[in-house]
């Protein structure tokens, strides 16, 4: 019986049409992101919707195979197939996007956690000022000066040893405030989403989509300068990182 159903696996017009619609919606969402200036929250929603619609044909195909292998009615009934595939796509994207991939990302980037000292105390104090939950602080074992933050169920700030090597205390504090501002403004989630987009979306590569996060960076810089009561340190930190890159790439 299974064999009889399985031999019937094929692409029907209705299913093919669904795949085309899904990919078109996916491409339209990227164009929307490219053309319009959206809020941070809206950008994240659009990115995850784009990735979901991109994933939908694959889920549809596997659900189709699943229905065929057990000779379920969803194999012949397209509306039933859709009613199974849509929630599955939603669940897979949510779990992968908000739990599995971020967890792997945090784990693979984690070097060692800072749990004491001036940096820890500064993050604690500044988190209280910004009224956000104190994020964990991790150091990355690289001489390249890099810093980024991450916001999911648990927030975290990652800073390289190289960054500590070249920045003065006040400049380092400016970078920390900049990352805390990203967490507060939820733009670290956007940065992570655009990172996923670059990895998982061939459409974004084909359409040469490149989101620079410039506006988010500017807002984070402004908040850091406001808290330090001067933009001197965030500017000099940026200059020093730029100087390093110039020296590095010759």
């Amino acid at each position: 019986m299974i064999d009889a159903c399985a031999t019937g696996i094929g692409i029907e017009y209705a299913k093919l049409l669904l795949i085309i619609i899904s990919l078109s919606v996916s491409a339209s969402l990227i164009i929307l992101l490219k053309m319009f200036s959206l809020s941070t929250k809206a950008k994240i929603v659009v990115i995850y919707s784009h990735l979901s619609t991109l994933l939908f044909p694959l889920v549809l195909f596997t659900t189709n195979i699943g229905c065929a292998s057990v000779c379920a009615s969803c194999y012949t009934d397209v509306s039933q197939l859709i009613s199974l595939a849509i929630p599955t796509t939603f669940i897979v994207t949510t779990i992968a996007g908000f739990a599995i991939i971020p967890a792997v990302f945090v784990y693979s980037n984690r070097k060692s956690e800072i749990k004491r000292g001036k940096v820890f105390q500064f993050v604690k104090k500044s988190s209280r000022t910004l009224k956000i939950k104190q994020p964990k602080i991790y150091t990355l074992n690289t001489s390249k000066p890099v810093a980024f933050s991450f916001r999911n169920f648990k927030s975290a700030i990652f800073m390289s040893v190289g960054l500590f090597d070249i920045l003065k205390i006040k400049e380092m504090q400016a970078v920390i405030l900049h990352e805390l501002a990203h967490i507060k403004q939820k733009s670290s989630a956007l940065k992570l989403s655009t990172f996923f987009l670059r990895i998982f979306s061939p459409i974004s590569i084909l359409l040469r989509f490149h989101h620079t996060n410039t506006e988010e960076e500017r807002k984070a810089d402004l908040l850091a300068a406001k808290l330090q009561k001067t933009d001197k340190y965030i500017k000099s930190a940026r200059n020093r990182i730029r100087e390093y890159e110039k020296d590095f790439y010759g």
Partner: protein, 135 residues
Amino acid sequence: MVEARKIDLRKDNIGVLSPLQADILKALWKSNQSTVRKLYNTINSKKKIALTSVAVDLDRLHKKGLVERESENGLGGPHYIYSFSKSKTEFEKSVVDSTVNRLIEKFGSVAVSYFNERFSKTKESLAPHQSRGKR
């Protein structure tokens, strides 16, 4: 005809150091181990350089295997502690070794017969001194 590229030592990642890399190594040989900032202060007191240039060149020396580094957590945050992986003599020996190897690799028997000739001349010039020493 001998082409300059044939005796390019940069391919071996050794022997050719930038002036700043040489200064960094000299400072490290003196101090045994140091941080980016301490090395910067030592070199900067003699000639004006940028802190980022010291950090970049230390990373390049680390990639060449000439310096080692370890991350150390201080109260002000983590820092790399750099130390040399080759002493001055070991480094000079490796430069001579890679130079000779490259010359032999590129010029084969011509280089080998030249070295034979050159070494026998050196031996001859050293012989009277050695026999005098024995007596």
